[in-house]
């Protein structure tokens, strides 16, 4: 649904636009239909610039991209018909009512039954009762919900959501997140940029980490596994330091460390290797209370990739 090849954007900046700033450098991505893709990176990493290029708002300096089967830079109007975008700032017409705001956009997108589409999304997002109120009187969360409705009016195949929950209170953020989860079930392709790594972890099938260049792209789980390997944690009643060395000798064990009364064992395939380790520990006289998997947060993956310069490469 979205393919980019060496997509790059260089801005000319400074007086007389003589200096150059590379916002996005050689981005190559493949995002399938129905996939929720999380695009992560620090401020100024090129996330919004990428969204703008893919939504045909700005042109690429180098490389190519296809969205919904159309070529960016060539079939821009066709692409705009098929994509919805939630921009960083809701950008609503504050003096106009919620209904009027959506009606304007429904007309611009050429929605056949404007009233039905507007009513549908106002109801779904819980704004029906306030439809005649000027948007200027809305809370930040309500404006964001209205902006989400605006992005969906023409039932786009691809949805670009640029930091949809930034600046929202937890309740409003939860509503927007739940709505994105619902959209996921409708089979739309969603391109989500966010700083909220927990959100990306929960919502995204695939995440890409960018800092001008794409540092890594994969499922959150695969990224964790690639970076940190898989680790099983054996919680023991008491521990004998000799067991560390003995467990390390077991087949398939990459590393073992002791943390308090726990043994942390790095394994290539925990599902098949855990039983053998449990058996070995029991034979050594260990009393195992329970076994779990050490989970690294996406935040750890993100920080590791960004600040230790590990490159996972593109797809």
């Amino acid at each position: 649904m979205i393919q980019t090849r060496d997509l790059s954007k260089v801005f000319r900046i400074g007086k007389k636009h003589k200096d150059e700033f590379t916002a996005v450098d050689g981005l190559t991505l493949d995002i399938n239909q129905g996939e929720v893709f999380g695009f992560l990176g620090p401020n100024g990493a090129g996330k919004t610039t990428t969204v703008r290029m893919l939504a045909c708002l700005i042109g690429a300096t180098r490389g190519s991209a296809r969205v919904a089967g159309f070529q960016v830079g060539k079939d821009d109007t066709e692409i705009r018909r098929r994509v919805g975008i939630l921009t960083e700032s809701p950008g609503m017409y504050e003096r106009l009512s919620a209904e009027k705001n959506l009606t304007i956009y429904a007309n611009l997108y050429g929605v056949p039954d404007t009233q039905r589409a507007v009513g549908k999304y106002l109801s779904i997002l819980g704004l029906w009762e306030r439809r005649m109120d000027p948007v200027g009187s809305f809370s930040k969360g309500m404006r964001q919900k209205l902006a989400v409705a605006r992005a969906l009016l023409h039932e786009p195949q691809v949805l670009f959501l640029d930091e949809p929950t930034t600046g929202l209170d937890p309740e409003a953020a939860k509503t927007v997140r739940e709505f994105i989860e619902e959209l996921k079930t409708e089979g739309r392709t969603i391109f989500l940029t966010t700083h909220n790594l927990d959100e990306a972890d929960r919502l995204c099938d695939t995440v890409g980490i960018i800092k001008q260049k794409l540092l890594a792209v994969d499922s959150p789980k695969a990224l964790r596994d690639k970076l940190f390997g898989r680790k099983s944690v054996f919680h023991l009643r008491t521990i004998n330091p000799d067991w560390v060395g003995l467990v390390a000798l077991q087949p398939g064990v990459n590393a073992v460390s002791q943390i308090g009364e726990k043994l942390v064992v790095s394994l290539s395939d925990p599902e098949t290797q855990n039983p053998a380790i449990i058996k070995a520990l029991v034979n050594m006289g260990a009393q195992i209370m329970f076994v779990g998997e050490l989970r690294h947060s996406l935040e750890q993956v993100y920080l590791d990739l960004l600040y230790q310069g590990k490159e996972g490469g593109g797809q």
């Binding site: 801005f11 703008r52 939504a55 045909c56 708002l57 700005i58 042109g59 109007t77 705009r80 018909r81 994509v83 975008i85 921009t87 700032s89 809701p90 950008g91 609503m92 017409y93 504050e94 003096r95 106009l96 009027k100 304007i104 956009y105 007309n107 611009l108 997108y109 050429g110 902006a147 605006r150 992005a151």
Partner: protein, 264 residues
């Protein structure tokens, strides 16, 4: 076409909720309509009936316009001719107010990006925004002139003076030059809007548009220029060329990428 109509509808729905815009649109035409009528009424009986226009004290060049009139009527059309320029201020100032609020307003509320993400073409957007500013300005100017013309009859202004005001010079000014000036005005507002973030600043800077009008006024008062049909036709052609050039330049400036990345 539907998208252009939608943009016009949106602009009017939003801009006409702004009190400042409404004030400019109501007060300015009212002043420019009532003032010349008062002036004509006050100078109606000057006691110069039957007196040669040459003794009216108007610039020599202007006397050509006074053929068949007495000195009083000649004086009256000389005075009212200055108000023609005031009438021309309406199509200049009203679009600036609307365009400044509509374009800079979009910048400040950051509503341009989602708008530019729709299938609307840059040409449609620019046309919609320009028409949203030009149409009310043209209608108000023509409406104000119609009111002024009606006032001439109601107040019993001399037939010779009425005939002069309803002559091709004035009609060309109101019906042809006015809308062209509105287009120039909108384009100036677009250029300025790309550089400022406050609608009031855009409006004030656009005030430079009044400059050339004031120069013509001074030249006319000094007797160096007479606004007649020839002058008006030349002004229409000159302004039309300028408007075409500015529309072309405006379209170049009003590009999605430029707006999003350089309009700060």
């Amino acid at each position: 076409m539907k998208r252009i109509r939608t943009i016009i509808d949106k602009e009017w729905a939003e801009v006409f909720k702004n009190r400042m815009v409404i004030m400019v649109m109501l007060v300015l035409p009212l002043i420019f309509t009532v003032m010349p009528l008062i002036m004509l009424k006050l100078t109606a009986s000057t006691g110069m009936e039957g007196v040669d226009p040459a003794s009216a004290g108007v610039p020599a060049k202007f006397l050509v316009s006074c053929s068949g009139m007495n000195a009083g009527e000649c004086m009256q059309i000389y005075i009212v001719n200055q108000f023609l320029l005031m009438f021309m201020l309406m199509p200049l100032m009203i679009p600036v107010t609307i365009a400044a609020y509509s374009i800079v307003g979009e910048k400040t509320t950051r509503s341009l990006e989602p708008l530019l993400a729709t299938p609307i073409t840059t040409k449609e957007l620019l046309t919609g925004k320009a028409l949203a500013a030009v149409i009310p300005a043209a209608l108000i100017s023509i409406g104000a002139f119609a009111l002024f013309a009606l006032g001439l009859f109601v107040l019993g202004i001399a037939p010779m003076v009425r005939a002069y005001i309803l002559s091709p010079t004035w009609l060309l000014a109101i019906l042809a030059l006015g809308p062209i000036l509105s287009v120039i005005s909108v384009m100036v507002a677009i250029f300025i809007s790309s550089r400022v973030n406050d609608p009031r600043a855009a409006e004030q800077i656009s005030g430079v548009l009044v400059g050339p009008m004031m120069i013509v006024l001074v030249l006319q008062l000094a007797g160096l220029v007479v606004i007649d049909v020839r002058f008006m036709l030349a002004a229409i052609v000159g302004c039309l060329l300028l408007a075409v050039g500015m529309v072309y330049a405006g379209a170049k400036l009003f590009q999605r990428e430029t707006i999003l990345t350089r309009w700060k």
